[in-house]
């Protein structure tokens, strides 16, 4: 037989990984392999609370078939999920539930905020509704629409795949750092929450200070955001 060069270890008789005469092993970058495996087997945790969830179901069904992209299995247990898809409006009463589900998901994890309500509160600029789940959990991709079409959700998940592709293990833990002491605490600071949830459109006339409403209870602390 000829020379046994590194990477050309296989003989014609035994065969390499790509057939006789081919290399028996390949070299690659660990980042590439890890990111490839992660982005090719994203398991979504569906947190569907409203009409967006119908479009999410359509995206998982045969016509759009998210399994093509590695979302092989809807994981109804957060402990075996990689992507939290929050589809629909989230009232304040549900906020601790969403936060706990997020805290239960193992690292690495990503979050898609699907639809106008999950991203901003949408038309529900009212007393009971979370004005964007980014005040509660970190969000990677926002999908606009009311509701978004399944193509929109697929595009969002492909953007997450692209995000994973660009990650590297040296920066990974920095990117994914999470302070356990801040679990079940607001994701954003008070100023950020105020800026994110400011009144807009028709609701500008209906903030906390109009209508002769008592605001003294809130004025005691520094959190009165107009």
């Amino acid at each position: 037989m000829g020379v046994n060069l590194p990477g050309v270890g296989a003989s014609a008789a035994s065969g390499g990984i790509l057939g006789p005469g081919s290399p028996a092993f390949l070299t690659t970058k660990i980042d590439f392999v890890v990111n490839w495996s992660r982005r090719s087997s994203l398991w979504p945790m569906p947190f569907g609370t409203a009409c967006c969830a119908i479009e999410m179901m359509a995206a998982f069904a045969t016509d759009y078939d998210l399994s093509r992209f590695g979302m092989e299995r809807m994981s109804f247990s957060p402990r075996q999920a990689d992507v939290l898809i929050c589809a629909g409006r989230v009232p304040y009463k549900l906020a601790p539930v969403l936060r706990r589900i997020w805290d239960q998901m193992p690292q690495p994890k990503w979050c898609v905020s699907m639809g106008a309500c999950a991203s901003t509160g949408g038309v529900f600029d009212v007393y009971s509704m979370v004005q964007g789940i980014d005040t509660i959990v970190p969000v990677d991709v926002y999908v606009p629409g009311c509701p978004p079409r399944p193509e929109g959700l697929i595009y969002a998940l492909m953007m997450i795949q692209e995000k994973i592709r660009q990650e590297s293990l040296t920066k990974h833990f920095e990117l994914r750092a999470e302070d356990p002491a801040r679990a079940a605490r607001p994701r954003a600071s008070d100023t950020e929450v105020g800026a994110l949830t400011g009144p807009f459109g028709n609701s500008t006339q209906q903030n906390q200070l109009t209508g002769g409403v008592e605001v003294e209870a809130a004025r005691g602390s520094d959190d009165l955001i107009l």
Binding site: K93, P96, Y127, A184, R185, P186, G194, Q206, N207, A217
Partner: protein, 235 residues
């Protein structure tokens, strides 16, 4: 209300207009009590406790009764064989704003007589209390909790009067009242902080959560005795 020269988007820019304070009653024009047998009987039996009678939406007879005697009147409507309002379709409340009294609305339906009746109690804002009707219709249990939660009306004698829709430790008041600001009383930051600080185990025991899963006792209709050929029996 919106001035007549404003329309469409211009009117929207004005924002909501606080309701003007008007007279204490919001009842419509009185109607002929003889149009509905139960209304005529109510006037005959309870007299001055029946404050007003009107017809809404063509055929819906509305009776305003005195809150102090509402339990007695509703109990009579349920039990009297000539009326038998055995189905309580809804308990709700209306706040018309402007300092007007809150209305508690009982929507009744009589299955044997196929007849509907709407009974209302007007409660002034400084006396938001009325007798609970859970003893008459069990369906009122959660409905009265909802009215209590969203309007702050206390139901005397309710077995379990606590919030049902809003978080148990909600501190901003009763959201469906007209004086409640649309976006709540606290800032969004405070609302978010309070929401995330909710201690779910404090308000919901495992028994509460499991209660919907208790095995239901199903009573099947007794099959006809052997020998007699019932309509469903195989032959």
């Amino acid at each position: 209300m919106t001035p007549p020269d404003k329309s469409g988007l211009d009117a929207i820019e004005e924002g909501p207009v606080p309701s003007a304070a008007v007279g204490p009653t919001v009842a419509g024009a009185p109607a002929d009590p003889s149009g509905h047998p139960s209304v005529a009987a109510l006037f005959g039996r309870f007299g001055s406790a029946v404050l007003h009678h009107g017809v809404s939406a063509g055929s819906q007879h509305v009776v305003h009764v005195e809150p102090a005697r509402s339990l007695e009147i509703l109990g009579w409507l349920r039990d009297d064989p000539a009326h038998r309002y055995d189905l309580l379709a809804d308990v709700t409340a209306v706040d018309h704003g402007g300092g007007r009294p809150l209305e508690v609305v009982y929507q009744l339906w009589s299955i044997p007589h196929r007849r509907a009746l709407r009974v209302k109690c007007l409660l002034p804002l400084d006396a938001l209390e009325v007798d609970s009707v859970v003893g008459l219709w069990n369906a009122a249990n959660w409905l009265e909790r909802e009215v209590y939660d969203l309007f702050g009306i206390t139901f005397r004698g309710h077995p379990d009067l606590r919030r049902i829709l809003m978080p148990m430790d909600y501190a901003e008041g009763h959201p469906l009242r007209k004086d409640f600001p649309l976006r709540g009383r606290f800032s969004r930051a405070e609302q978010t902080r309070r929401a995330l600080a909710q201690d779910l185990e404090k308000f919901y025991t495992p028994h509460d959560i499991e209660i919907g899963r208790e095995p239901q006792q199903v009573t099947l209709p007794v099959p006809p005795a052997s020998g007699s050929q019932g309509p469903g029996a195989e032959s």
